[in-house]
């Protein structure tokens, strides 16, 4: 028993080392992204006070700027912000004093994540299914139909789909509410709008991934072994074809927390996407930076998760990971 545990530990040790190394890199990436955002944001003309009230007396404006430290040189402001971040404080809104960035994330991102999550789940599942179907019926009508839909899905902008849906299902046939957020019925149209993109993307991606696998020699071996068509598809094709999609799915999952500005604006959903964009036009420095830190964090984590998942799913990468550590 002891030796077994020891062996298990030995085999997982390189993996731990590898993950630790990756976390250090992630911290580096987050620091770089935060710095770039900070300086870009300060390069935008104007300041939060002018963006809020235009005809403020100059003295009052100056007093506000001094109270927030905006009269200091940018370099000093940058160091102050980093210090604040390291103490675990994401800062608070300038526009709405007292609103903390952490609270904004807690209040607005669940709506974005709910709509985006359902849309992504529906889009990915249908997309992968359509892709597999298209690849198996290559050059026959199901393939043509899926590819046409995928083409339309990627080329028609979301706001066009949203407007058409709104017009058809709330004005012509009033089945769903137009805008707002008050229960499940309000989610149907935004979810449909948001799942079109992933559906089209994943259908195309899965189709080409499947076609890649179908032409591999090991599929020929599986046929020569006398396996049933069904087993060849489930055990030999799908797993290998899904591997390249894992990274894409993880990145998409990270994307749902930032929400969709367009869909949230059209359907008046209280999501993070809408809030994020309005914070930029308000020059609400701390909100933009704080949200950026959180969303970057989610992104780099999702990429780490996808790499770990790939290691677990693909034995070839597992060995490479051990060598790299």
């Amino acid at each position: 028993m002891q030796t077994h545990l020891h062996r298990l530990f030995e085999s997982w040790m390189p993996m731990f080392k590898y993950i630790l190394k990756r976390i250090l890199y992630m911290a580096l990436v987050m620091w770089i992204v935060t710095s770039i955002t900070f300086f870009l944001l300060h390069a935008i003309p104007g300041d939060p006070i002018t963006a809020m009230v235009q005809d403020l007396p100059e003295e009052t404006r100056q007093a506000y700027l001094v109270s927030y430290g905006f009269d200091q040189p940018v370099g000093k402001q940058y160091l102050m912000y980093l210090k604040q971040l390291f103490s675990g404080n994401l800062g608070q809104s300038l526009r709405y004093p007292g609103r903390k960035v952490a609270d904004i994330v807690a209040n607005y991102s669940p709506v974005s994540a709910l709509v985006g999550g359902i849309a992504l789940a529906v889009g990915v599942l249908l997309g992968l299914g359509c892709g597999v179907l298209a690849a198996l019926k290559r050059d026959r009508w199901p393939d043509r139909a899926v590819m046409l839909l995928a083409l339309l899905g990627t080329t028609i902008p979301t706001f066009v789909i949203a407007s058409v849906l709104q017009y058809a299902l709330t004005v012509t046939w009033p089945v769903f509410p137009t805008t707002g957020y008050n229960g499940a019925r309000y989610l149907v149209l935004p979810v449909i709008c948001m799942c079109v993109g992933p559906l089209a993307t994943y259908a195309r991606y899965m189709r080409s991934s499947m076609l890649d696998v179908v032409n591999q020699d090991y599929i020929l071996t599986a046929e020569a072994k006398g396996l049933s068509e069904r087993r060849i598809i489930t055990h030999h094709m799908l797993r290998n074809a899904l591997l390249p999609c894992v990274t894409m799915i993880c990145v998409s999952v990270a994307g749902i927390f930032s929400g969709s500005f367009i869909v949230e604006s059209i359907f008046s959903l209280p999501g993070l996407g809408r809030y994020f964009i309005s914070a930029i036009s308000d020059r609400d420095y701390f909100v933009v930076l704080g949200l950026n830190v959180v969303l970057t964090g989610i992104y780099v984590c999702s990429i780490l998760v996808s790499d770990i998942l790939l290691m677990l799913l693909d034995p070839r990468i597992r060995t490479v990971g051990e060598e790299a550590a």
Binding site: D217, Y218, T221
Partner: protein, 338 residues
């Protein structure tokens, strides 16, 4: 010796964007029980396509097998069987080994599972029994530590080990016929010899027939009972290994034998190379496919395909030189081109 596999008039055509490639043109041959038949020819002559057509492995590609082709295995025409009946023969009565074992094994499945799924799709065995059988098979192909090997993935093995695994998998249901499609081409020379010796030992031990496809006449000499030479999609000469190596009848066979490097050759210029290139298989080729490169070519060779003629039983050839009215030329195997 009874007939095990009887291929009659097999023709395979691929549709490509720039025309139809007639890769196999009316090939007929028989594999007898317990014999090793070697099919030899240069790259692109249609030997691999013939092998794949036997098990109908071309159905996913753009290939069409002509409707009057017959592949008779133990009296059943494989080309007209239903998918289910065909799957009962594939991997069961006929095993197949491919050229590149790395590409031919599923990279994300353990060796054990790949062998076990073959066994369990043909035999009613539990997981544990199938796993035991897989272990025995790995022992049969002389792989060390079979139990540990079952849990390994293809990329963790060497090239020779992978090909042994492929062979074990092909033998998992005691096939009557093993089709080995260039089993040693992707391996280095010392491993090649080991794999060939293994195949030969297994063939004797399991009393099965082997259809060995290769472009290397050198490996055929020690292994094969019968040899058939393919060129431009047609079989141009058939015979016993003795016939082909000692008294080749077709100028192409003779040229192939001349091209085998020998130890007595010291300089690069001593190596013989047959001038010209293989024919374009998109052409109709109603003549002898070798006519354009043959140094004995006569006017008729470019007009009409010669019939199959045999002097001694079992040794036949498609060449106008065999015609009673043709001039006598000396094709003394190795010395012909030198």
């Amino acid at each position: 010796m009874g007939e095990l596999l009887n291929v009659k008039n097999l023709s395979v055509t691929f549709s490509a964007y720039n025309g139809e490639v007639k890769a196999v043109r009316g090939v007929s041959f028989t594999v007898y029980e317990g014999e090793t038949l070697a099919m030899v020819g240069e790259s692109g002559c249609g030997k691999s396509v013939t092998a794949k057509a036997i098990l109908r492995l071309l159905e996913r590609s753009s290939a069409t097998v002509s409707s009057n082709s017959v592949v008779e295995f133990e009296g059943k025409n494989l080309l007209t069987l239903s998918g289910k009946e065909l799957n009962q023969i594939r991997g069961n009565a006929i095993g197949m080994v491919f050229q590149d074992a790395m590409a031919s094994l599923n990279p994300t499945m353990t060796i054990g599972n790949q062998i076990i799924e073959t066994i369990r799709s043909h035999k009613k065995l539990g997981k544990r029994e199938a796993s035991k059988r897989a272990c025995e098979l790995l022992e049969l192909v002389e792989l060390p530590e079979p139990q540990a090997l079952l849990r390994r993935y293809p990329h963790e093995l060497s090239g020779g080990q992978r090909q042994r695994v492929m062979i074990a998998m092909a033998l998992s249901c005691d096939p009557k016929l093993l089709i080995a499609d260039e089993p040693t081409t992707a391996l280095d020379v010392t491993i090649q010899a080991q794999i060939l010796e293994l195949l030969q030992r297994l063939q004797k031990r399991l009393a099965m027939s082997v259809l060995l496809i290769t472009h290397d006449l050198g490996i055929v000499a020690g292994v094969a009972d019968g040899v058939q030479v393919m060129y431009g999609g047609s079989l141009i000469e058939k015979g016993t290994a003795q016939d082909i190596f000692c008294s080749p009848k077709h100028p192409y066979t003779a040229a192939l034998l001349t091209a085998i490097p020998r130890r007595s050759m010291e300089r690069r210029s001593d190596l013989y190379a047959l001038p010209g290139t293989p024919p374009d298989l998109r052409l109709a080729l109603d003549c002898c496919p070798f006519a354009a490169r043959c140094k004995y070519a006569m006017p008729i060779c470019k007009k009409q395909m010669p019939e199959e003629t045999g002097e001694t039983p079992g040794h036949s050839c498609r060449c106008w030189l065999q015609h009673p009215m043709a001039p006598r030329v000396a094709l003394n195997g190795g010395e012909a081109g030198g």
